[in-house]
């Protein structure tokens, strides 16, 4: 497996750190902070600048936004406290719930498909086939395309390229643009997102695969494991940390998608593919309902945070040590 042993250093180290923390958690005496070489000055020099920027750019607007969601501001004027009426309005807003349901459908499909695809590709690409380094780069490249350009390219493909191919070769499913039908339009979003994100998740799974000790696998082979049993009974349980990370990343990214949404479908047809971030943007800026949009954004934050924390918690429970 020499060809496949090119670890992605940072991620492997990250995973090992993860495992270390898991091992230390039950014991109260193992306090990471009190290690012998801990130097406060160095810690601050490295962490403080980023911490300051993080506070100013993310924490402060977050708190201010939270405060705004309890007022009746429209972005520029109106600062009277209205309590929870914005949140009540959001709960009664059918467009919010419609976009929420569409987003859930989108997220479920994306998370499942991305992770399956990334896992399979990572497995193939670490199995020692020829040219696997090139393949890794090739599969990762879609991730480098930014959201808006990605949406525009695929909009062109779905609207013009596939329609032309479909009419020229009489393939009925492509003859009408997929973007004109609500169900198919959602699938275009899913396809584009899966295409983009599988490369990134593949990298994480590769790191996971290369972190599996060869001794375990060899021992299993000697004991007469088939390939399929090797994958399901040994590699998958050992890969749970990677699963946690990938699930967390895909879940949060898919929930927050905006730029691909607006450049690929613009929410059409008939507003059926308006995902939740687009809905928030429209509410805040198009409808001048800044406070209500802020309330929706905060609700989205709570939902994503709850889902992610739950997912990580359950995942940690399933971790297996080598």
């Amino acid at each position: 497996m020499s060809g496949g042993r090119k670890p992605v250093c940072c991620l492997t180290i990250l995973l090992k750190y993860f495992k270390k923390r898991v091992r230390c958690r039950p014991s109260k005496r193992c306090n990471m902070k009190r290690r012998k070489n801990f130097n406060l000055t160095f810690f601050l020099i490295f962490a403080l600048p980023t911490l300051i920027i993080f506070t100013l750019v993310i924490v402060v607007p977050f708190i201010y936004g939270l405060f705004m969601s309890f007022t009746n501001t429209n972005g520029m004027s109106g600062n009277s406290w209205v309590g929870f009426s914005n949140y009540a309005a959001v709960f009664h807003d059918s467009t919010f719930w419609n976009s929420f349901i569409v987003t859930i459908e989108y997220v479920v499909a994306c998370v499942v498909l991305t992770n399956i695809l990334a896992f399979i590709i990572a497995y193939l690409v670490t199995s020692g086939i020829k040219g696997q380094n090139f393949l890794r780069a090739a599969f990762f490249t879609p991730n480098l395309i930014g959201g808006i350009v990605l949406g525009l390219i695929w909009n062109f493909i779905f609207r013009q390229v596939l329609v032309n191919v479909g009419t020229a070769y009489s393939i009925p499913i492509f003859q009408e643009t997929w973007l004109a039908d609500p169900v198919k339009a959602l699938w275009t979003l899913i396809i584009v997102t899966v295409w983009q994100m599988s490369g990134y998740m593949m990298i994480i799974y590769i790191a996971g695969f290369t972190g599996i000790s060869q001794d375990v696998l060899e021992a299993a082979e000697i004991d007469g494991c088939t390939n399929f049993q090797k994958v399901t009974k040994i590699e998958m349980p050992l890969m749970v940390p990677s699963f946690i990370i990938c699930l967390f990343l895909t879940l949060s990214r898919c929930f927050m998608v905006y730029d691909t949404n607006i450049s690929l479908t613009k929410g059409e047809p008939f507003g059926s593919t308006v995902l939740i971030s687009l809905n928030i943007y429209r509410e805040a800026f198009n409808n001048n309902n800044y406070a209500k949009g802020q309330a929706e954004a905060f609700l989205l934050f709570i939902i994503i945070a709850a889902l992610s924390v739950t997912q990580v918690y359950i995942g940690k429970k399933m971790e297996v040590e080598q």
Partner: protein, 441 residues
């Protein structure tokens, strides 16, 4: 060796922090304004510098050239700096964030419905010299509580665009637009064009086109627009009783019958297939506005380089059989919260330059291709569609349009799209529109 290590790691960390701060974050950065923030300059009379926010990206280059000319020719040492709207953001988003940060532009170009939104922050311009020259049909849109709060920058209009050359090729006879006086005449013409092998009309499925331009004609023709809308909101008015609305649905039905996109109405594309179709003779009619000319021009090459265009009214009712919708779409407001008096004077001088100065008029009409709202500007814009609007304006045959802000165009646009593809019938559409107004505040 250890010292070198720690030095290198320190430098790397510093570099990473700098790059992470300067690099882009993937979260949507909606405030797109960039560099030139020449904020409130010195209060001296020597040099005044004002900032101008342009929300019309299509004229960006020409506007910057005009501003350069003004900066070099004006006698009061005024310097104007233009910032243009980035297409991934919206005018509302940028202006909201500028006002929130306490750093607004001196003058900002806004969509007409937003004049009211920023009215309490804008200067009263009712006593300016150029007010008397505004075309009478265009004044009402600029007024908030009886005071003129904005400078009318661009007039735009929409109607049934026709390509005269395409029609004549398809029907083999010269086309005189004045012979089409009613919907029946239009249908007869469509049949002739269809028989000539050319699709008669194309419908853009975009929600803003169907809702904000096509449907709102039904409200604009009402005698008292404001009370009609409040009637809809209170439920005392029913849109299905609106004569213009019924006529508009007839026009839409006719267009749907002869739509080149009939098999898949949602596949029209405003930037590619629509302008190509009208420019290259695949379609003869298109309901849209004169702003499409800049897109269509790219495709007017070769044998189509000299195609003639014009506007026909939509024939929904008696008023709309002679008039087209035209009004001020972009207006310029002068900030009243953070500008100094010198800046206000400079801003007004800059704006009057477009009305009174020959170089300014030329920049506005010829270079930027904008239809002016002022009667004293005699220059004619160069493209056919703008010329057509100017002639309707001269005859007073325009219906001012009012835009309903908020989620009108996204929600009603979605309903109209469903009607377009046949998912909704006329009664369901009327009910949806009525319910929308009743539930909006």
């Amino acid at each position: 060796m250890k010292k070198l290590h720690s030095l290198v790691s320190l430098l790397t960390a510093a570099a990473m922090v700098t790059f992470s701060a300067a690099g882009c974050s993937s979260s949507s950065s909606s405030a797109a304004s960039g560099k030139s923030e020449s904020a409130a300059a010195s209060a001296s009379d020597e040099a005044t510098s004002i900032t101008f926010f342009n929300s019309k990206p299509e004229i960006a280059t020409q506007l910057e050239a005009a501003v350069k000319t003004f900066n070099s020719t004006n006698k009061d040492n005024i310097t104007v700096t233009v910032t243009t709207l980035n297409t991934s953001s919206t005018e509302d988003a940028v202006l909201t964030s500028k006002y929130a940060s306490g750093n607004p532009y001196t003058i900002s170009m806004v969509d007409t419905p937003d004049i009211a939104v920023y009215a309490d922050k804008s200067m009263d311009l009712s006593d300016q010299a150029w007010v008397k020259n505004i075309n009478e049909n265009m004044v009402s849109a600029l007024k908030v509580d009886g005071k003129i709060k904005a400078f009318p920058f661009a007039v735009e209009g929409d109607g049934l665009i026709y390509n005269k050359t395409t029609i004549e090729k398809a029907t083999n006879e010269t086309f005189d637009p004045s012979t089409v006086k009613s919907l029946a005449d239009l249908e007869a013409l469509y049949k002739k064009i269809q028989a000539g092998g050319v699709a008669a009309v194309q419908i853009s499925h975009d929600d803003w086109s169907l809702a904000n331009h096509f449907l709102t004609t039904a409200f604009d023709t009402q005698d008292d627009y404001t009370s009609y809308i409040s009637g809809l909101k209170s439920g005392s008015n029913d849109i299905s009783g609106n004569e213009t609305y019924k006529g508009l649905l007839d026009v839409l039905n006719l267009n749907m019958k002869y739509n080149v996109y009939k098999s898949s109405p949602m596949s029209s594309d405003y930037t590619t297939s629509d302008p190509t179709n009208i420019a290259t003779g695949k379609v003869a009619f298109w309901f849209n506005g004169e702003w499409v000319m800049s897109n269509v021009k790219q495709f007017l090459t070769g044998s189509h380089a000299n195609d003639e265009f014009g506007f026909l009214p939509v024939f929904a009712d008696s008023k709309t059989s002679t008039c087209i919708s035209a009004g001020v779409t972009k207006a310029i407001i002068i900030d009243d919260t953070k500008t100094t008096d010198a800046q206000k004077k400079a801003a007004n001088e800059f704006l009057s330059w477009f009305v009174d100065d020959e170089a300014g008029q030329k920049a506005l009409v010829n270079d930027m291709g904008i239809i002016p709202a002022f009667t004293n500007v005699t220059l004619q814009p160069s493209d056919d569609l703008s010329k057509s609007i100017v002639s309707y304006m001269k005859d007073g045959n325009t219906i001012p349009f009012n835009t309903i802000s908020g989620d009108f165009y996204t929600k009603i646009g979605a309903y109209m799209q469903q009607y377009l593809v046949g998912k909704m019938d006329a009664s369901a559409l009327s009910k949806s529109i009525n319910d929308y107004f009743k539930s909006s505040n």
